[in-house]
Every structure is written in structure tokens, then in C-alpha cells.
């Protein structure tokens, strides 16, 4: 079997299979999400895939009223904003994600630091399956 390179393409393939994966440097132990082919701490290139537990906390967020075309297509607009944020995983790394299970119309009720768990949102783009990383209150 061909070894999966530590690329965004492979990372997204894993997301399609509902796996949140990072890469770990075998030399110094640094962990990265999304995965990196080169360790930015020691320049090591011997990496291994590590599956994340999929839990963490909300580090910061925003509720967007005017989104890009693909979000408008999903039905989001000024009256129906959506929430995206940065999630700090229990493993210590960070990922960008949609935040679900909260009310994006009431941003005052969304709290930085709230515990979250991963979920996956799928969409089609030109017949291709794409997966968004999303989190919801744990």
C-alpha cells in the first residue's frame, strides 16, 4: 500500500471518513493539525498519522451574516447567520471549524471556553464529496 503523504488532500480524505487526523513528528514529538510534511519545530520529516479524540474547547468565534457564495447557497444570510470558530483540541493543537448546536443569532450566548465535540458536515461540489469540520457543544 502506498504511504499517505502528510497533505491537505489526505487530511480531507480522512475528514470524508469522519476521522480528524494530525501528524506527529517522530523525532521531537510535536503534533500538528492539520498535518504537516515538515516539522516546524525540528525540521524532522519522519511523521506519523495520529487520530485526534475530537474533543476540545472554543478558543474564539464569529457569527457571519454575509458569507461567501457557497454558504449563501446553503441558505445563510443576514437573517440566518452561521458560526465559525477556532477550536483548541484536548491534544493542544487548533483547528478551524463550523460551530453548530448554538444560536448564531444570539452571539452573546456563545462562550469562549465552552467544551465541544467534533461532528462532520458533508456537501457536494461538482459531484465531489467535501467534508466540513464542525463542532457542537459536548
Amino acid at each position: 500500500m502506498e504511504k499517505k503523504i502528510f497533505s491537505d488532500i489526505e487530511y480531507n480524505e480522512y475528514l470524508n471518513k469522519k476521522k480528524l487526523m494530525g501528524s506527529k513528528c517522530k523525532k521531537c514529538g510535536s503534533l500538528f493539525t492539520p498535518p504537516r510534511p515538515i516539522c516546524i519545530d525540528c525540521y524532522g520529516t519522519d511523521m506519523e498519522w495520529i487520530e485526534m479524540k475530537g474533543t476540545g474547547k472554543l478558543a474564539a468565534f464569529t457569527c457571519i451574516s454575509i458569507g461567501p457564495p457557497f454558504m449563501i447557497k446553503e441558505g445563510f444570510d443576514r437573517k440566518h447567520p452561521y458560526c465559525v470558530g477556532v477550536v483548541e483540541l484536548d491534544e493542544g493543537t487548533k483547528v478551524d471549524a463550523r460551530i453548530e448546536g448554538i444560536d448564531p443569532g444570539k452571539p452573546e450566548t456563545i462562550k469562549v471556553g465552552m467544551p465541544l465535540a467534533v461532528k462532520y458536515l458533508h456537501r457536494e461540489k461538482k459531484g465531489e464529496k467535501l467534508t466540513y469540520l464542525a463542532f457542537e457543544p459536548a
Binding site: A60, T62, S65, P68, Y82, D96, V112, A134
Partner: protein
């Protein structure tokens, strides 16, 4: 800290810019020609454009906005410079600060004595949605994929800042009000109105149409009214965001040893720094711009001066929160104190550390590729005591700076100029 230095001194001997705005009947060439003519005319002892040896031109994405790429030779031909070399620099909203920096290095190396640096961008001929899409080309892919927009990235930074330091959206309003107080004093500003004036216009308009006039007690109440100031990417609201703009700006740089042939009031480049940032996934802190911190380190390291020696500064305020955090990252205020400084009036035109005397990106406008050198045009005006009504009234005004950010913090620069 490593002491960085230029191979030889470089000075600014001329500067100019267009008024920023939305131009139906002017394109990038027309705008650059205007900025160029003003720049040539600004050289105190006269200047023959034939003396320019090379052009460095900042442009972010006219490729996308007007479907034309490869702008450096087009502009070089426009101003009669061809076949001399012309190079385009791209660093998103910091594109022309990079042009300035490359021009400085070209002279410092000894290769050229006189170069023209500048920038241009033409954004208003596309729809707002298309502009948003064009700007989003400069976000980090992991962020774009889950639905982040430009304002959204700064919204995230704001919520992180609020959570860490206890600030709120109300604190951001002070930035907007302050910028708009300066803009009417700048004839080049796109939105030369105070928030109070815009409130009154809305009230008069409502009355004119026979509708009940809105009752806002003050600017804060107006900016808190979601119908007047709707969220774009909470907590970024409409008045936290800079407008869509067209414009051009440029400057003539010369080797310090010949600057006196052109003016008795040249500005010396005493600090020039740059840094690069990364997305949230990799950022060490969500409440600092690493690229700005590195740019500051380089610029202070070269100049040997400290943040408190900077007498005023232009600071990249594409979104209100950006100005607050940058004033901390540049060392003007301690971390977590930037929002208090604005609240307490420290950054006002008549305050101890004026920030964005031009009105900033928020009210002067932000034609992205032209912004970097336009900020330095403001420093030029101030340090030469030519800023008119918005002149900083400090004794012995000598050192001013400009900070420029590209994208969502991917490229940042900090440039310090001195009048000797």
C-alpha cells in the same frame, strides 16, 4: 537583538496620492497618473522624471477585480519609464509597503540612486460580493473552507481579545469614532464625515421622507443600533469595517547622499521591518499578530529607537479590532491596554500618541494595493508640517511610522521615517 542596517542611507524626496473613493470614470492608469503627477510636483527643488531608474509597484488583485494582470509594465509605460525595469510586488493589502521596501533595498544596495515606488487598486467596479470573494483569495485555506470571510477572521480575533482582556464591542466603537473625527480634516479621505455628521444626515433624510426621525443620544447609541450598524461578522459590524475603494499612491526614493539635490526636507528611512504570519491553526496567540511583532522587531532593531520615540503612527485598521491589537503589538501600549488607550483619548489627533491622523483605512479608504504607500504619504505630510488642519501639533515633530497588514495578517510591515 541583531542590529540590521542598510548598505547606505535612503530618503523619501517626493510623495503623492489620489483622493480615495469609488471612481466610475477613472481606471487604475488614470488614478496612478494622478498620484504620479502630484508626487513629481511635490519635489521641492524640481524633479525630472527621467531620473527615475526603476519602478516597484504594489498591486494585490487587479487580476481579479478588473481581469487584468501584470500591472508593473503597464504603469511603467504610462509614466514614460519603459524600457526601464518595473516590478510588481504582492502582499495582499500590504502590497505597496513591500514595493517601498524593495525600492529601499534597491537603493541601499547601491544598484540604483533613484526609484519610484507606489501602489494601485481598482475595486469598485465589481459587486460587493465579488470584492468579498476577491479579498477571500488572501485568507488561509483551512479558514476559507469552513466559511470564514475577511471580517469573520477579525471577528474571531475580537472575541478572543474580549475573552482575554474583558473588552467589548463598545470599546471598538471608540476606534471608529476617532477615525471619523480625523477624516474630515483630510482632503484625500473617501468618507470625510464624522459619525455625528452621518447620524444627522440619516435623521434629515428620514425627516425628508416623512418618516419618524431616529433618536440617537450620541455616537455610541447610534453605533449600538443594529438597524443603523448591522453585524457583518459579529462582533464586527458595518462601522467596524473599511469601505471598498479605488486609488493610487506613490513616492520617490533617493540615496541619502543625493537627497539634498531635490529637497532640504527629505525624510530618512530609519527603520524598515517585515514579518509573515500564519493561520489560526498554527498561531501562537489569537490576540497578537506575529507578523507585526516581527516587523516591529526588525524596524526597531534597525533604527535603534524605542516605541515611545515614535511620535505618531498610521496603523492598519481594516477592521476596528486590528488597530487596537496592532498598537499593542507595535509596543505603543501594553498587551490588553490598547482598547483603554483609545477610550481614554490617547490616540486622538491631540493625544499623546496620535494614531491614523489620516482617518485610517476606515474613513480614508482602502484600495488595498495603494494603502501601504498612502500611509507613508501621510507620514510625509505630517513630518514636513504640510498636513493642514490635521497637523499633529507636537513640538519638534521628527519621527513618524506606518504599519501595514496584508490579508488576515500573512504579511505585515512597519516603516519608520525621520526628518533630520
Amino acid at each position: 537583538m541583531k542590529k540590521r542596517k542598510l548598505g547606505r542611507g535612503v530618503a523619501v524626496i517626493g510623495a503623492g496620492m489620489t483622493k480615495f473613493g469609488m471612481y466610475k470614470n477613472k481606471d487604475s492608469k488614470d488614478l496612478f497618473a494622478e498620484a504620479f503627477n502630484e508626487t513629481i510636483a511635490s519635489v521641492d527643488k524640481g524633479f525630472d522624471p527621467n531620473e527615475i531608474e526603476a519602478l516597484y509597484l504594489g498591486n494585490f488583485s487587479n487580476d481579479f477585480f478588473v481581469h487584468q494582470s501584470h500591472w508593473a509594465p503597464l504603469i511603467s509605460d504610462l509614466i514614460g519609464l519603459s524600457p526601464k525595469p518595473a516590478t510588481r510586488t504582492e502582499g495582499a493589502c500590504a502590497s505597496s509597503a513591500l514595493a517601498f521596501r524593495e525600492g529601499v533595498f534597491a537603493i541601499a544596495s547601491g544598484f540604483y540612486d533613484i526609484v519610484l515606488v507606489g501602489g494601485v487598486e481598482e475595486m469598485s467596479k465589481t459587486s460587493t460580493e465579488e470584492v468579498a470573494e476577491g479579498l477571500a483569495l488572501a485568507t488561509v485555506p483551512y479558514e476559507g473552507r469552513v466559511g470564514f470571510t475577511f471580517p469573520g477572521v477579525f471577528g474571531v480575533i475580537a472575541t478572543a481579545y474580549f475573552a482575554k482582556y474583558g473588552a467589548s464591542h463598545r470599546d471598538l466603537m471608540n476606534v471608529t469614532i476617532k477615525s471619523h473625527n480625523n477624516a474630515p480634516l483630510n482632503p484625500k479621505a473617501q468618507i470625510p464625515f464624522t459619525i455625528r455628521e452621518m447620524m444627522n444626515t440619516k435623521i434629515e433624510r428620514a425627516k425628508g421622507k416623512g418618516r419618524p426621525a431616529p433618536q440617537w443620544k450620541d455616537e455610541i447609541e447610534f453605533l449600538s443600533d443594529l438597524s443603523a450598524n448591522p453585524p457583518v461578522a459579529w462582533p464586527m459590524h458595518l462601522y467596524d469595517c473599511c469601505p471598498i475603494s479605488d486609488g493610487a499612491s506613490c513616492m520617490i526614493l533617493a540615496a541619502e547622499e543625493i537627497a539634498g539635490n531635490f529637497t532640504d526636507k527629505p525624510l530618512n528611512v530609519i527603520g524598515i521591518g517585515q514579518g509573515s504570519g500564519r493561520g489560526f491553526h498554527s498561531a501562537k496567540s489569537l490576540t497578537s499578530f506575529e507578523a507585526t511583532q516581527n516587523a516591529a522587531k526588525e524596524a526597531y532593531g534597525m533604527s535603534g529607537i524605542k516605541p515611545e520615540d515614535i511620535q505618531f503612527s498610521e496603523v492598519h485598521d481594516c477592521f476596528s479590532i486590528a488597530e487596537i491589537i496592532h498598537t499593542e503589538d507595535l509596543g505603543f501600549f501594553k498587551k490588553g491596554e490598547g482598547y483603554k488607550a483609545v477610550r481614554d483619548g490617547l490616540t486622538r489627533l491631540d493625544g499623546p500618541m496620535p494614531v491614523n491622523t489620516s482617518g485610517g483605512l476606515k474613513s480614508k479608504g482602502h484600495p488595498v494595493g495603494a494603502t501601504g504607500t498612502s500611509q507613508l504619504v501621510e507620514v510625509w505630510k505630517q513630518l514636513r508640517n504640510e498636513a493642514g488642519e490635521r497637523q499633529v501639533k507636537k513640538k519638534n515633530l521628527r519621527i513618524g511610522a506606518a504599519h501595514n497588514l496584508g490579508g488576515t495578517g500573512g504579511t505585515c510591515t512597519f516603516t519608520i521615517l525621520e526628518r533630520r
